[in-house]
Amino acid sequence: CRAQPFGSVPVIQDGDYTLYESRAIIRYYSEKYKSQGTDLLGKTIEERGLVEQWLEVESQNFHPPIYNLTLHVMFASVLGFPADELLIRESEEKLGKVLDVYEERLSKSKYLAGDFFSLADLSHLPFTQYLVGPIGKEYMIRSRKHVSAWWDDISSRPSWKKVLQL
């Protein structure tokens, strides 16, 4: 695939400019359109630092186990390989430990980076939607009081609802 040398999606084209990697794309648009809509990067260098921190947490700690769950629970049969039950159990356990840290964080802070909704929260929407839906593990969110409230808040944003309708 010429547009994306690693052969994955998404890719965007903004005029002559091509960009891939979803977290690079969302950073780009958040900066480009900083003065309109929600400020997804915070207002100061320090707030930005915290947004980057939790965006990296999503990327390094949250994403790997939930990606394994998605692949093996949702897509194994579709893609024609046997679901790895051991990997599913291990991934669920790992994800649970990550969500325990989130529970602690969200008991002190309305959103991950602070009292403002940011890219860090947004980045969790797609796979968590799978978790509470087709993966069938909504209990992992609901059994954690603050994670549950946070999920209700961010998933009821009009922007996310529009995405779900696409």
Binding site: F6, E31, I45, G49, E52, Q53, E56, N61, P64, E104
Partner: protein, 274 residues
Amino acid sequence: MKKGIKWKFAASSFQLTPLFPLPLYLSIVWLRTEQNTKAKLFFPLCLLSAAKSTMAAVAPVKVYGPPLSTAVSRVLACLIEKDVAFQLVPVSMAKGEHKKPDFLKLQPFGQVPAFQDDSISLFESRAICRYICEKYPDKGNTALYPANPLAKASVDQWLEAESQSFNPPSGALVFQLAFAPRMKIPQDPKAIKLNQDKLKKVLDVYEKRLSESKFLAGDEFSLADLSHLPNADYLVDVAGKGEVFGSRENVGRWWEEISGREAWNKVKELRKSA
């Protein structure tokens, strides 16, 4: 391990001014024994000129973690490139210090590094690197994370490629080939083969990219290239896998260039003296 007392000097840098030709300055000297107890001793030191030094004193920037850690060394490389003075606070992972309550306050996942300066406490090495570049835009290497949105997005794209595509297989190989033997953990031949194949595919993409561009994000060395240094260095120097880079013309050229950087060699020196 060094026997006896290990001195850590926190030396202050002060400027000579005409009003105080021969000032005496107090400096704090930290005394640290092998058992990790601390005692403060105060004694006067003679005037010091404002010399550049990475031994920071009143330097507010602290990095917590062992320099042997790939993620810790990523942050150190960035700080040295940016010419930002810092204090490296050791964390003994062998003794489980990274899982103790004091450290978990800094990094709730129990991972290294953690970072502090006068206004913030942060973790995640790539977030820390971005923060350092934004906080000190005019210091040291100013091209690491450009202000121009398109140039910055290109760096973010390749930082993400490192984080999502290069880091998992290279990290797994570094563990299997460099660390597992030392930790007396049996190697997993299936995991080694799987990750070698994955890494090969990633480096094929890099080979094409680096035939069109001097560095990953463009014509200048950036955070995107820097972020590869820790894992790649272990692959080449400890795991003996230099041929994955050397066998590819453009990747080989790129690796020679980035691994020869002064800042990276200073990180390697810090590792040796740790």
